[in-house]
Point group: C2
Chain length 458, copies 2
Amino acid sequence: MPAPNFDVIASLSKRRGFVFPSSEIYGGMAGFWDYGPLGVELRNNVKAAWWRHMVHLRDDVVGLDAAIIMNPRVWEASGHVAGFSDPMSDCRSCKLRFRTDDLKGPPSEIACPNCGQRGTLTEPRQFNLMFATHVGPVEDSASVAYLRPETAQAMFAQFENVATSMRRKLPFGIAQIGRSFRNEITPGNFIFRLREFEQMEMEFFVHPRDEDEWFAHWVEARHRWWTDVLGIAPERLRLRPHDADELSHYSKQTTDIEYEFPIGWSELEGVADRTDFDLRAHAAASGKKLEVFDEKAGEHVVPFVIEPAMGVDRAVLTVLVDGYAEEQLAKETRVVLRIRPDLAPVKAAVLPLLRNRPELVERARRLTADLKQQVTAMYDDTASIGKLYRRQDEIGTPYCVTVDPESLDDGAATIRDRDTMTQERVSMELVPQRIAELVEGRAQWEGIPREPAGAGAP
Amino acid sequence: MPAPNFDVIASLSKRRGFVFPSSEIYGGMAGFWDYGPLGVELRNNVKAAWWRHMVHLRDDVVGLDAAIIMNPRVWEASGHVAGFSDPMSDCRSCKLRFRTDDLKGPPSEIACPNCGQRGTLTEPRQFNLMFATHVGPVEDSASVAYLRPETAQAMFAQFENVATSMRRKLPFGIAQIGRSFRNEITPGNFIFRLREFEQMEMEFFVHPRDEDEWFAHWVEARHRWWTDVLGIAPERLRLRPHDADELSHYSKQTTDIEYEFPIGWSELEGVADRTDFDLRAHAAASGKKLEVFDEKAGEHVVPFVIEPAMGVDRAVLTVLVDGYAEEQLAKETRVVLRIRPDLAPVKAAVLPLLRNRPELVERARRLTADLKQQVTAMYDDTASIGKLYRRQDEIGTPYCVTVDPESLDDGAATIRDRDTMTQERVSMELVPQRIAELVEGRAQWEGIPREPAGAGAP
């Protein structure tokens, strides 16, 4: 089936506790969303998968977690204070403001899209996308500070501290996961374009002579992460090198990883060759030397930077869109989230077949507690077994464990696989271990079937 | 030994990559700090320990991850816009501003602490501690928004969405980990009082009749978390119930968990009985019903709230202060961080005894890669073995694995215990499994010896 549109995902997300409109009881807040109980878990799993592959499994990357508010001179040096802006036009009559790029013609020639008057739109002027605030007791220009619009600059500002404290030589990288903020004029498309979002960025410092080799490495490694670790369908992914005229001012070459959403091919991640632009800018502005000693050449060099940068929210959206399926079973349609077991918010749901049998309920609750020692698990007995299966399918729970009257005799329970709907009878004592193995095994070795398992029993 | 002072910890933190002054190359930023490579790991481990015990292991608590910027009406309803403030006095002569509470007398009577003039200090006026910004293209009063000064209000604003999507009945809790911001006039004491900090808060909703019982439960459960999960010395912890005159306006009873820092007994966490204050305030301001149906009584009730709330940064500081020890060995002093293995940034360091033997280095690197599949591990060969042990002791690495020439013959390596400095010879194939067991076993069953193991070989 084609990828579902964002409305379908937003509706599922709200109904099942993945994502809620922020401050909804007060009418919401455009460009801001809250992650509900299941959304937090999914998001944390996506972040953990990135951190594990970008930091823990590698020898050449370390982490950082910097403050969101940095000294404002960071943003002067980076060029954000002067240049991180969109052109805007005001209507002199109705006082509304518009992004000039969105207008259907030059502001001097067209009517105001709101009030319809002509000749009322001002010439474009630059509107900075950084959120500003004041730090300290006095509100004046000296106390202005910004919410970071990207996490990357912290890696440049702390380059020296990290390299020294961790005794690092080239090549090495600094990775960070954290919130960033951009005062977007037109946020939208659910959690695709946000004003507050979370980034996962890594700045990889290399000798200038190794620039191209490492750029190629990271494009390939990041593409593989999306397919092999997040489990995204390869046919919906593509690599798109930037044309020369769309490169950022700091970048010599950039390749985007794109996904085919219902709104079209859209960027998930960019791998950018930032050259030595940033380190030189911060060295010049701070008066500090930001370089390393290259033993091979016997001289100090300013490293080049290869940066893979992506947004967590967009990754979560991609996992939901890519995993969503509607399947026709014998008597009903089921919605199933075919996401990798290690990403699923709940790994195992324990469902007693009869909730009016206290000894059955007690045994199922005990099994839930045992399971929780190994994986995220939940207990549910608030509906018929068929309905309970559908609920778990819809939130991507890979394994349901059913405790039935026979369990009290044979001490075993039934493990049902979300994708194949096949069942396996396992001794209850071994269920936690078996589920942990299944989750880990599937995470490492197997793909997820993308086609319906076909009509059949649940 | 007594707890080390903050300077000792700050120095170790910067030197070894736990915590750096934010934007240090630009002169820093008061009240803001960045977590370096080891600090991120420690902090993530503290957060994971909280999430596991507060959410995953329980049946009655779910998570939330809300946007930092919420609709400003949230902060009007909560009382923060009107009341979250400190009294300040300005000097009319030198223009500096002071927290009135810090002045050594009434502002009308004393000299300005900066310029020394008398009669220049203004009467106190309220200074709001929330950072303000503007959202959207226009900067006016309608676009003002705030960085949250606490995470708690999101749990009240999303109470209905969470309860409905997760089919929750009383009692149940909503937990959140996330950044908060307060424009403190006098930040300081390293990461003890910050302007940007991270909170772990949980709002537990109960029937009013169960208020006292649950308050007692959470005071006890949270105290136990600090001793049994974080491994903090019980003799340096105390419970301190608030006197009636220090209770917040929303609280009926509050008990603080305090630690004996070198600066004195200080708050680590507060368990507050917030009654129905918050839900009623948001219901009144939003016009929505924020209540649940109580089946026992057959009526709708507005739940009471018991809130355990703590700061991540202060927990990290406590772990560092409490774990820090200087021990006299036969020939030297060693600094050792006696922190729980599951909190340690690095679980295992692989150290080749000779770095000029390529086959030894190769074998040690292979072992590191194997270890990384199970735990966070690192390889180091940049100094003598004695020095390498000291480095790992100082960052709290519980296990060092030494690969020596004999390893090439017998296929075994030596695992050294950080605290006892005892050594165990284990087949290299089994080392990853053995370390994983040791970390998990120590996490669950054993305490950490607080006294030096005594002089002896490393």
